[in-house]
Amino acid sequence: MFYHEILVVGGGLAGLRAAIEAHDAGCEVGVLSRVHPVRSHSVAAQGGINAALGNHPDARDDNPERHAFDTVKGSDYLADQDAVEILTGEAPARIYEMEHWGCPFSRTEEGRIAQRPFGGAGYPRCCYAADKTGHALLHTMFEQTLRRGIKVYEEWQVVSLAVADGRCYGVVALDLKTGRLEAVGARAVVFGTGGAGRIYARSTNNIINTGSGMAVAYMAGVPLKDMEFIQFHPTSLFGNNVLMTEGARGEGGHLLNALGERFMEKYAPKAMELAPRDIVARAIQTEIDEGRGFPGGYVHLDLTHLGAERILERLPAIRDIAINFTGVDPIHEPIPIQPGQHYFMGGIDTDADGATEVAGFFAAGECACVSVHGANRLGGNSLLETIVFGRRAGAAAARFVKDEADGVGGEKVEKVLAAAMAEATRRVTWVLEADGPEDPAALRDELRENMFTNIGLFREEGAMKAGLDKVRELRERFRRIGIRHRGRRYNLDWARNLELEGMILVAEAIAAGALARRESRGSHFRTDYRERDDRDFLKHTIARLTEDGPELEYRPVTITKWEPKARTY
């Protein structure tokens, strides 16, 4: 058992930004991370980060309000508009701060931060560092963490949250290198644990994105919000679904079907390839489903007209990826792409300070849902969310620690941690010793295929019911798994099976939320309810875990300036 005043879980952009803020506010901070911080999924973000800086000649009159409107419209009006105004209002300051911290953004001729057009945005406002923006930001953030001497525990996996009487006292985590389970006490805990993309087949996400943070919070009684909203990125590489940045279309890339048609003119005649992701992804899938794709199920992302110079300067990484994995050089040939699961708009239910229902427990970044993305996130807003709300969550945690005068004595803390430790020990030991007939790897594959097929881009009552039944079946079968290896040290089998339990729980929340939402909104598209229904469903889904699975309730959406309107591009 050990303690930190504030414990951050997750070494990606949101977690590190929270840690830095809490440290700078005078708190003592420790960070637990599943991987070394620079291996976190933030590193894989490519295209850029939005802020209305007005550096592009076509964006001189851009401003945070326009950015907010684009975000709200992109969200299909499900985002909370007060939170969106915070996101876009704080964006310029956060970007300049990253620049002052040394982030190597690409530059305009005038020496300013370069910006490119991105989907669903009225102006070119996506700041970038070639097509490695996440890498540039995360390495910069890690440098700032080192500069402050913040303690980072690498390769620790959190297995439960220590909660009693509505207050969080720390976590229980597994040190993968030693296989030791530890209770870690803290006066406040901030999760920046990332998304759960790996619940889906065809995900663009890092292999570590299993939603373990969401699951741990959910199991501790913290509700999840809007889980049915899953973003499918239009352009993931055919074969292994590695991301091909929206920046490729921002730089002028075209989408072509097997007939050579620029089919987006049928779906979004004005915005074309730069319509929001939900619309472009469905357009691509429609082309494929109606027989105008290529055999195997893909279309072309054509960059050949951009020229070698532009591709080498602005899109070098995706060129390398395309060559490496498919043998296609985008300078000479179009890239085979298909939609792939990309992002969770939903997550741990938080307010705009990252606070949750549980006192002392905060969350930010993809694991959280404020909500600023509503039913569909705009490209370039997720990196922005990590630094805006990571900072706010870190500040709020620091304020909480300082303001708190609840007289919690050491004895109570130790009791709660000991209880959490006992419960976690029982669970992880069970997984380590499990000797049933079910193969967890097969369960994981079935789960991922089930989610992609039954609760994917196009949804319908019957398929979703089958999908939910399947998830429940997997939940049962998980109780009969067998493990292959029983050693404690660096046991991947063990760690991944622990994650699998959480993946199944999160999947159930997704399926239940999707079934109950009888409308189409943003990424949640139902062939049996094709229209948005503001009368009945302009509201957030809140899922609480009970013995019988998720229990749903609803909460109104905050509207400040923009009444819901039809969404055309």
Partner: protein
């Protein structure tokens, strides 16, 4: 910069093995320092699938054959740096390395070793502690003396180009693991730390020039590089640390001739952050 020749790329069609390949033989290094006296190579035979990478092959072993295999992974697209390994005699990222490419290179089996010259925690997982300590030793963050401007610090595209190669580093440890001066000189900070020092010196926004040089102008720093060029060959991101280190040597000499006081400032002068 990688080749842009269409023919070479098209012929390889990266994901395709030579005709007739149905199974792949993997030889994987296994070692548990707590129970084994020395490491061994385990042989696994797995079905070959088009597009299979070395990382995919390791997962197949983990999930289907031997659940005790330990290795690192994360992004599976060559940007996070977690899975640098010594594969068929070269430093490579397991996630980027096509099994088909290895077969086309003439290898009959896939040979997977951990990064050499680093302590093994288990199997392919190495202890990177010293690598990170060396990286931290050079104060790898921006240092500015002037007040932050309201907006960005200006930098022209040409100035930005000066650091482009070096900011592409993914901190995978390949160059560090490959450097004979690291193997033999226990205190050498190594090519990553040197290259990153040069990255900050080359950054027009950084204002700690002589102090940075002071952290590497000694026998544990730039002078320890004997231009063996292993690091250049090892880097999966085609960065040239050796050339950066020669830049450091030149700048150090110039600073010494100038009698620059900053050379003796020490790391603390750069660490006084917020």
């Amino acid at each position: 910069m990688a080749t842009t020749e269409k023919t070479r790329v098209s012929e390889e069609r990266a994901g395709r093995a030579p005709v007739g390949v149905e199974r792949v033989v993997l030889k994987v290094y296994r070692f548990d320092p707590e129970t084994d006296e020395r490491g061994r190579l385990d042989t696994f035979e797995i079905p070959y699938v088009d597009g299979m990478t070395v990382l995919d092959a390791l997962f197949t072993v983990l999930e289907k054959i031997d659940g005790s295999l330990a290795f690192r992974f994360s992004c599976r697209e060559g940007i996070c740096g977690a899975c640098a390994m010594f594969i068929n005699g070269s430093y490579r990222l397991a996630c980027e390395t096509q099994v088909a490419r290895l077969l086309r290179e003439g290898h009959r089996e896939v040979h997977v070793m951990p990064l050499p010259h680093l302590p093994v925690i288990r199997d392919l997982v190495v202890d990177m502690t010293r690598f990170w300590e060396c990286y931290e030793a050079i104060a790898p963050w921006i240092v500015t003396r002037s007040a932050d401007p309201e907006k960005e610090r200006p930098q022209s595209p040409e100035e930005r180009k000066l650091i482009d190669e070096y900011v592409g580093c993914i901190l995978c440890g390949s160059c560090f693991s490959s450097c004979p001066s690291v193997w033999t000189g226990k205190e050498y900070l190594g090519p990553t730390a040197m290259m990153k020092t040069f990255r900050w010196l080359a950054d027009t926004r950084d204002e700690a020039h002589d102090e940075r040089l002071g952290l590497v102008a000694h026998e544990k720093g730039a002078w320890r590089c004997h231009t063996i060029f292993n690091c250049v060959e090892a880097c999966p991101k085609r960065i040239n640390p050796t050339s950066a280190i020669q830049g450091l040597k030149g700048r150090t000499v110039a600073a010494l001739l100038r009698g620059a006081k900053g050379l003796r400032a020490g790391r603390k002068a750069l660490a006084d952050g917020p």
